[in-house]
Amino acid sequence: MRIFLKILSTIFEGFINNKDHITDISPDENITRYIFNKKKGYSEVNRRVKYGAYLPAPDGNASVYRTSKISEKEIWDIGHKYVEKKRKDKKKIKARADIKAADIYEQSLSIIPDTTPHKLHANITNWPEEKDKRLMKAVELANSSQLVIKG
């Protein structure tokens, strides 16, 4: 019985410890989208994020990372290890777009944690079917974002 309770307690403890990765993402959280393509993602001259950075992939997701609780160095490290290295074309991260989760929710979009390939990974989902509405939301997200160019 004691062994059974210990096993149960270990499982339950693990569940509690991982809680922040499976619960809803708070509106205060910082969300980061890594940018590889300058033409699609940002304007260096005007120091701004382009709407193209947020347009979802054909599967309907825009892949992002939750970056509130990690350092600047860790943000770039995650991009390097879990995004850059997964690419077949070996392209390097050029910049990132940082945005508050609240600005994403304001567009009636969802941020769903998807802990593969990393516990802080998530997807912006719930994009509308109509292209003009998707464009509008991507424009609004870019408008609310901060551009950080990789040094």
Binding site: K39, R48, K50, D132
Partner: protein, 164 residues
């Protein structure tokens, strides 16, 4: 004799023909060439001259599937041709857009003057322009227009709105 001729298409005044040989003809040609150069430097004169090479670069970079590493669709020849026609038909004097390759294989044209002054028109080779504009905190517009030879007035008006 003094003779100076312009090309028939006013969008593509990129050279003058000087059939005269007098000093006056050469002077006029020099003045005219200088004026064109000045105009080119001060206005959007020939959009294709500026954007053509960038468009070619985009088709070169994005003609294969997964060009963005996130399963993007390739940009097709018909989308390229339509983008070319869109640029060619931009009215003289409008500021030039930035070109944006999109993950579904479309090409976007973005006019951006900072926060809340943005207009985007996107084409995909099917004769439809999809657009979205942000002109203030709660001032936005989006929709679709047919693109056949001429850029619809609604699109032109929205571009101008960014610069008001």
């Amino acid at each position: 004799m003094t003779a100076l001729a312009l090309g028939s298409n006013d969008r593509f005044i990129n050279r003058t023909q000087n059939t005269g040989s007098s000093e006056a003809a050469n002077k006029i040609k020099a003045i005219f060439d200088g004026a064109i150069e000045e105009l080119r430097n001060s206005l959007t004169w020939n959009p294709l001259y500026e954007l053509g090479p960038e468009l070619q670069e985009i088709i070169k970079e994005c003609h294969e599937e997964d060009w963005d590493g996130e399963s993007a669709c390739p940009i097709t020849q018909s989308t390229y041709s339509e983008a070319f026609a869109f640029i060619e038909n931009l009215p003289i004097g409008l500021p030039l857009p930035e070109l944006v390759p999109e993950p579904e294989g479309d090409i976007g044209f973005e006019w951006n003057r900072g926060k809340y002054k943005v207009f985007v028109a996107s084409i995909n080779g099917t004769g439809v322009i999809t657009y979205a504009g942000l002109f203030g905190k709660n001032k936005k517009t989006h929709g679709e227009e047919v693109f056949d030879e001429n850029i619809p007035q609604n699109i032109i008006d929205n571009i101008r709105r960014v610069y008001k």
